[in-house]
Subunit: 196 residues, 2 copies
C-alpha cells in the first residue's frame, strides 16, 4: 500500500467554506484537493493501491480525512467536486472513531501522531533539501509525508525523526505537494514495473 | 524555452461557460487549467522559461491561447481562477493575430499547424506507448505535445510525424496530461541541474 499524508496547517475542520472560493475560504483546502487528484487519478480509472490522509488543523481540534483507493467512488479529477466530497465528510459528527462519509472517504478527530500507518514499511518525509528519491525508494509502497504551503512544524519534524523517516527530495526545484505526489507515484510505478 | 502544446478536442472557444461547473460546461477546460498549473507553478513563484499553447477545438473555428511564463501575472494555482483568466481571453475579439488578454496571456484564431514553435528545437509527442523520456530529453527545453482525455487525431499524428517528432512516454502507467507535464518538467529540471 502506498500512503500519502498531507498536513494542512490552516485547512478548515468544518464544512463552512465556499465552493466558489475554495482557496480564500477553506484555509487552502484547494491544495489538498490537488493532492487527492495526484494520488489517485489515472487516465482510465483510479489507483486502488493508494490511500491518502489529510491532516486538517485549521480550527478547533484537528481532524483527519482518509481516502482509500480500494473503495473510492465519485472522485472526479476537478478541484470543485473533490472539495464537495470533503465538505460532505466535514459535515459529519466526528470523534476519535473513523466514520464513513461516502464510499472510500472517512473522517475522525485526530492529528499526525494518531495515524495507524506508522511502523508499516518505510516512512519518507518529502523536503526540498532531502536526498534524491530516485534509487532510494526500494519498494512499490511506503508512507510519504508532505506539508502544504506552510510546511511541517519543528514538532512534526521531531515526530518524524523519532520514526526514523528518510528525508527525500523529488528534484532540483521546490515544488507544491501535489506535484511531489505525481513524481513519487511515477517513481514507485517504475520500481514496480521493474520488479514484476 | 520549454513549450507545451495541449490539444483540447472539445474545449470551448467562447467565454460562455460556468465557473461553477467547468468540467460540465466548457468541454473539459478543467483539464487545460490543470495543465497550466503543472507547466508553471513552483513553490515560490512561477516558471519564467515555460510557455504553453492550448488548442481549443470545441466550437467554430479553432482558437489558440498562449500563456508565457516570462510575462505571466495573476496566475494562482487553483482551477477556478485559472479558468477565469481563460474566460477573459476567450471574450476578446479574435482573428489570426495574437491579442493580449492579461499580462502573459494571448489569444488568436488558429490550430495546431499554425503554431510558430515548430522547427525550434526538438518536438516530442507524449503518448503512452512511446519510449521512456528518461535519458531521451537531451536539452533543458523542447516542444512537448499532449492530448486531452480524447487524445490526438490521426491527422494530428500525421502532422507530428511530418515534423519528425519523437514519441515519448513518462512511465509505465497511462496518466492525464497535467501529470505528464509535471514529469517532463522534472526531467528537464534534472537535466539542467546536471549540466550547470
Amino acid at each position: 500500500m502506498r500512503s500519502f499524508v498531507v498536513v494542512g496547517n490552516l485547512a478548515t475542520t468544518t464544512p463552512d467554506f465556499s465552493l466558489e472560493d475554495i482557496p480564500g475560504t477553506s484555509g487552502r483546502l484547494d491544495i489538498l484537493c490537488r493532492c487527492i487528484n495526484s494520488a489517485f487519478v489515472l487516465s482510465h480509472g483510479i489507483r486502488r493501491d493508494v490511500q491518502i490522509y489529510l491532516i486538517l488543523r485549521g480550527g478547533g481540534a484537528p481532524k483527519t480525512i482518509r481516502l482509500q483507493g480500494r473503495d473510492l467512488r465519485h472522485l472526479n479529477p476537478d478541484e470543485r467536486t473533490t472539495a464537495a466530497l470533503l465538505k460532505k465528510a466535514l459535515a459529519l459528527e466526528s470523534d476519535a472513531k473513523w466514520r464513513r462519509s461516502t464510499p472510500g472517504i472517512f473522517v475522525r478527530r485526530g492529528d499526525l501522531a494518531d495515524l495507524e500507518v506508522w511502523g508499516e514499511g518505510t516512512t519518507y518525509y518529502l523536503r526540498e533539501d532531502g536526498i534524491d528519491h530516485r534509487g532510494v525508494l526500494t519498494a512499490g509502497d511506503g508512507t510519504f509525508v508532505l506539508g502544504d504551503h506552510i510546511g511541517l512544524s519543528a514538532e512534526d519534524e521531531g515526530f518524524l525523526e523519532g520514526l526514523d523517516a528518510k528525508i527525500v527530495s523529488v528534484g532540483p526545484r521546490s515544488l507544491h505537494a501535489d506535484h511531489c505526489i505525481v513524481l513519487v507515484n511515477n517513481e514507485l510505478d517504475r520500481f514496480e514495473a521493474t520488479v514484476q
